[in-house]
Amino acid sequence: MISKIISEEKTNIIEEVNLASKKEAGDTIQKLDKTATMYTYASTEKGNVKVKLKLSDEKIKKIQEICQLFNNEAGELINVLHQTQHALGYLPAEVQEVIAHSLNVSTAHVYGVVTFYSYFTMIPKGRFPISICTGTACYVRGAEKVLEEFKRQLGIVVGETSADGKFSLSCLRCVGACGLAPVVLVGEKVYGRVSPDGVKAIIEAYKDK
């Protein structure tokens, strides 16, 4: 059973797997063709695997509708990506393929744009995405120590999602609340003047949700 989808390649096992959370949404996992170049990473108890998602028809329709909203114009690619990420939470390879097809551009072009911008993610975020501000004002007031503490307590690195799918960790630069530095965001909630000692309480607040 897949417990989380992660960013880094650690092994190259290719196998058929069953992704419970995705199944609910009607997607299925396909065995990966050895020649496939675009894939999604998933981690299982056996290690990390490359998989290919087969998107549900419903989801494909949803993506196509978004593209239609922008008249399938290639120049609107970034707007399409924003909307799609907003709707689905992330932009895995298979979603990019649908977009490329609709806008009549190559998948490589879409992939090039997705990977250029840090706002776009190919890994699903946790239910409570945690972002640590590492802007200059927060940095000089100790953001790095706060980040270290989050990494330690959650057992994940920046860009990863916790095994239970609850938390993900990312950094961002200046959220405009420098007066409250160092600043941490959980979802849209802003926590100010966070010290390493305060990290535990923040995580606890979401543990049972």
């Binding site: 114009e73 090039g112 744009v113 802007g135 100010g192």
Partner: protein
């Protein structure tokens, strides 16, 4: 809403709104900026309104949720307008006292007043606060004074009058001439004369031109543009329309960071309200001028603040810069003439039109006119957003407006210009700040980030911090920037780990000059500045790291160690039990010892020891078995 179809209509509307407003005898302004939002100002606003309604005072007292007051450090802020009282750190619970004591009985609430960190006295009148006394708010004129979600509030404060004046009394060239004469220069970093840019774009003939507002705000410690868009979006909309009229464009585009949800919401609201009133759209104020605005979203790439990259990004491509010329003024969005200006630049335009070029040019220095907004942050008492006349000194900003250094520490440096700028020191404190002076002393104005550093900051680490940012944000198109900055970073990393050599100093300088000379865009051309300016002003700190293997501020972990003072240690074993890597040994009631080869310098033992026996030593521990390394 009925449409406003002429300037007379607009003026009439303002009169009606003024009269309506005059029915209220008292006004309360509650800050609704990002900082205060985070500190529960929404609950405060709701409580105030509820309590006033309960007492039947809601026809007399108006509560307005405004944009940022700039004084976020002490937020949430409430201003009682009729007597200028400035309350800080107000909680939702304080709403009752504000109504019962202040509004009803007229007595100020002492516990909510601001205490000046310099004189230790309570100040109730905001005009007497050190933070505001030397400020001159032009671009921020409406931030903290109006409700940004209601166009009527903007119109009461002269919103769209400048557009009306331009459309009815001036032709395009006359408008451009006013901006030229005002001496306004671009606030996005480069400082290019705004009037001249408009003039160039207006002279290119094309079937379609574009006005672009750069709201990408990439400097990682700055939020000037965000505060303007959240606090006074109409001033930017009005200015873009004025620009459109001047250069002959009917479409405006705002390129805004997707990470700014509140600014996006308010900007969208403002655009819709302006459309409803007919202040955007076809035949504005009956003068045959068409103009409308669309949003485009940035997606977290610093380089997209550079204008050619920004334009590519708006076209749906990777945001990579291209060589100039051609400048966007000639060939920009979709190959058409495009005038790109920064948010703050635009926010100045309506006031210049209303008050005149001479008025604006009378503020500031010879070559830098007007004011500049800075995001003042770091080790300073009053963190916040400030707007000061050009020509003010760093000393005035840091020690008067900023209230001095936090916790009584010693001032060390101030960083301006973000990742493209540099660090200034004690000896620059009295330099009048303007575009040219800052460049002369090795930094730059940049978009307005101003980070104050104290004795606890390591300057090599600060340079490393910016390089880390640059390495992450370089678009990778040209080699000197992509590879060179990575090498710079690695050398700095080496130095902070105590492995640097004297040759590394030369390497840093040589590599920096190659990167500056050969990079394609402004990002690469300025990226070595943080390194060069820290080497120039803090050479001794670099040398300490390299020769003495010492970091005087204790920031570089590799260069310090934890030590147990045998005389103070009572052998309680507390430290031994908390050490995550079992680096501490010792028997009960005997002095304990830290094994430096195992210790990961987490600091847990120091906090645990109740007898202050454990302390940080600044030099690298010299291992006996390796000799002096």
């Amino acid at each position: 809403m009925t449409k406003v179809t002429s300037l007379a209509d607009l003026k009439k509307m303002k009169e009606v709104l003024d009269a309506e407003r005059a029915k209220y005898t008292k006004h309360l302004h509650v800050c609704g900026g990002t900082g205060c939002h985070a500190a529960q100002s929404i609950g405060l606003d709701a409580n105030l309104k509820e309590i006033l309604a309960d007492k039947g005072l809601n026809q007399e007292v108006q509560v307005t949720m405004t944009g940022c007051f700039g004084f976020c450090e002490k937020g949430p802020i409430v201003k009682v307008v009729h007597d200028n009282t400035f309350y800080t750190e107000v909680t939702p619970k304080d709403a009752r006292d504000i109504v019962d004591e202040h509004i009803v009985k007229g007595s100020k609430i002492n516990r909510l007043l601001y205490t000046d960190p310099v004189t230790n006295e309570q100040v109730s009148d905001s005009q007497q606060m050190g933070f505001y006394k030397k400020q001159h708010r032009i671009a921020l004129r409406n931030c903290g004074a109006i409700n940004p979600e209601n166009i009527e509030d903007s119109i009461i404060n002269d919103g769209y009058l400048a557009l009306g004046k331009v459309l009815t009394q001036l032709d395009a060239q006359q408008t451009i001439d006013i901006i030229k004469k005002s001496g306004l220069r671009g606030r996005g970093g480069g400082g290019f004369p705004t009037g001249l840019k408009w003039d160039i774009t207006s002279k290119v003939t094309a079937d379609q031109k574009y006005v672009v507002c750069n709201a990408d705000e990439g400097d990682p410690g700055a939020f000037m543009d965000r505060a303007i868009l959240e606090g006074d979006p109409h001033s930017v909309i009005e200015a873009m329309a004025i620009c459109g009229y001047s250069i002959g464009a009917s479409i405006g585009l705002v390129y805004i960071r997707a990470e700014y949800p509140l600014a996006i919401t308010r900007l969208k609201m403002a655009i819709n309200q302006a459309r409803e009133l007919g202040l955007l759209g076809k035949n504005i104020l009956g003068k045959g001028f068409d103009f409308d605005i669309e949003l485009r979203y940035g997606a977290g790439a610093f380089v997209c603040g550079e204008e050619t990259a920004l334009i590519h990004s708006m076209e749906g491509l990777r945001g990579e810069p291209t060589f100039k010329p051609p400048f966007p003024s000639v060939s920009g969005y979709l190959g058409k003439p495009t005038n790109v200006n920064n948010v703050e630049t635009f926010a100045n335009i309506p006031v210049i039109i209303n008050n005149g070029a001479e008025w604006f040019a009378s503020i500031g220095t010879e070559k830098s006119k007007g004011t500049k907004v800075f995001a003042l942050a770091g080790k300073i008492n009053n963190v916040g957003l400030i707007e000061v006349p050009m020509g003010i000194t760093l000393r005035e900003i840091i020690f008067e407006i900023g209230g001095g250094i936090k916790d009584g520490k010693k001032f060390k440096a101030v960083q301006t210009g973000g990742p493209s700028g540099g660090c200034l020191t004690e000896k620059h404190l009295d330099t009048p700040i303007d575009y040219d002076n800052l460049v002369e002393v090795g930094s730059m104005m940049g978009s307005g980030g101003m980070i104050v550093l104290d004795e606890d900051d390591c300057m090599v680490s600060v340079a490393k911090f910016y390089l880390d940012f640059i390495v992450e944000e370089s678009c990778g198109k040209c080699t000197p920037c992509r590879i060179g900055n990575k090498r710079l970073y690695e050398i700095l990393e080496k130095i902070t780990q105590g492995k640097g050599t004297m040759e590394d100093m030369e390497r840093l300088k040589n590599l920096s000059s190659v990167i500056k000379d050969t990079s394609l865009c402004g990002l690469g051309q300025t990226s070595p500045n943080p390194v060069l300016s820290t080497i120039q002003n803090f050479k001794e700190e670099y040398l300490e790291h390299i020769i003495d293997k010492k970091c005087r501020s204790g920031q570089c972990k590799a260069l310090l160690h934890y030590d147990i003072e045998a005389e103070l240690c009572v052998g309680c074993t507390a430290c031994k039990r908390c050490c995550p890597v079992n680096a501490i040994t010792g028997d009960k009631k005997q002095p304990h010892v830290i094994n430096q080869d195992i210790c990961i310098k987490c600091g847990a033992c120091e906090e645990k020891c109740a007898f202050d026996a454990i302390s940080i030593k600044l030099e690298k521990k010299i291992h006996t078995e390796h000799g002096n390394d």
